[in-house]
Symmetry: C2
Subunit: 259 residues, 2 copies
Amino acid sequence: MVVDIEQAVIEAILGGRMRPGTRLGESDLAELFDVSRTRVREAMMRLETRGIVQVLPRRGWFVVEPSADEARAAFHARRVIETGLLHMVSAMPASALAGLRRHVEIERAAIAGGDIGSSACLLGDFHIHLAEVCGNPLLTEILRDLTARTVLVSMLYQSRDDAAASNDDHVAILDALEAQDFPRAAALMAEHIDHVEAGLDLTLQPDRLAGLRELFITDAAGPAGAPPHGATDVAAALRPHPPAATPPGAILSQQPKDD
Amino acid sequence: MVVDIEQAVIEAILGGRMRPGTRLGESDLAELFDVSRTRVREAMMRLETRGIVQVLPRRGWFVVEPSADEARAAFHARRVIETGLLHMVSAMPASALAGLRRHVEIERAAIAGGDIGSSACLLGDFHIHLAEVCGNPLLTEILRDLTARTVLVSMLYQSRDDAAASNDDHVAILDALEAQDFPRAAALMAEHIDHVEAGLDLTLQPDRLAGLRELFITDAAGPAGAPPHGATDVAAALRPHPPAATPPGAILSQQPKDD
DNA sequence: CCCATCAGCCTTGTATGCAAGGGTTCATCT
DNA sequence: AGATGAACCCTTGCATACAAGGCTGATGGG
């Protein structure tokens, strides 16, 4: 299904595996997912209308590289929606709160364990889950896409990333929700998103080489064998689970269709 | 361009010319816009990801007919975003206010003139313009799509439509904005959207024949000459300016929402 | 007379083929 | 050597052809 490609790209972004500017060649993706270019184009166009990728005519599809203005707009939009959502909530079921508690606990563990990749992913997931339990699928969808954008922004402009502070913020928000103090939860959410945005340096020129640089840092042994097209390895990014030493020829093609 | 088709559909919906459930045949649109089916499919798929149309496999593309739950979700989303937006605004340029003042004046005139079609369109446009002057293109886009949805909802579930009251609400919101009392503006906005939603009867079975019924009411002279494809005339709906076949004054004023 | 079955048509679904345009590289000229 | 131009290759853009499935209408049987 075409939704697989879309979802794979979104998840790769949310999981921090796919950087802004990554080229998504139609033929490459077609081969990777074992579908025709037609399906890939469908997925790309859907992702384009969701603001996740953009096309440069005759050049190719690329994961968006939000400008500073677009970055600010994305954070502003999240502030608007997430605080609006909390302001308007009138009650939250205990089960939902429990689920969110579990989530922040997992966050904490991942951060304590130093797992940068999955902790970033989990921190973003918190907001999506929070939207989910508010019961509006439209807003959940919108926030998922906005979160993907802000994750991309973070990759481009990140100057510091205080995951522990974010986790603390999440806990504080949950405390307010548990106390049924929704205005306070909304205020805390606004502050939290402010903190995250403040951790960026939007005056910075986007660091387009960050992905490549990381490759050299983390994998200094074999830098000569560069990926065929461009700086980032699309196949690796799209693979459901992070780096991992490449299993013998196990790309996405041999996964069952029903996923 | 493919964006033309997308935009034409959106505008036809916002303008109240295209009803929920309208079938959008690929070949028909291709002929209408003089493009190939490929381009039409692109547009449809983009509109599908925006939640405006849906595809029934091997059946065709249709303008969405939101269920009662989806209707509530759409209004809720608008409440969340529009109140959140106003809550977060810290200043509004005088020129923007002036533009909005002009807009509500035009609304008033259209309502006074009994121009049902364009007054409904203008009432929706107010919210989009308000979002626009808040300066966040992302949210503007999102609200445009949500507004299109709520317009469709209104067509399906409308029991009464107090355009004058909506216009009054808009004026009150503008007054609050002019007084720099943004929390009050947000509260008024929440009330306003509540009013609009309250004017619907979401327990009602959607009236799928409303479009056809209207055709017979307004055009009783020649009911035999039915539109070539299905109940609603896609070509007429997509045409930038309303009916045109009948003298301007007569039709629109005598459109009672019979219910 | 009514109902079931089947064939034809009309719809979307999907792949493939060709066209168009931009980048890169190599060769040639200054 | 450097610059410039052209040819090639690789990319997306787009249309068309065919496949698959549902709906409708006709036809035959009960």
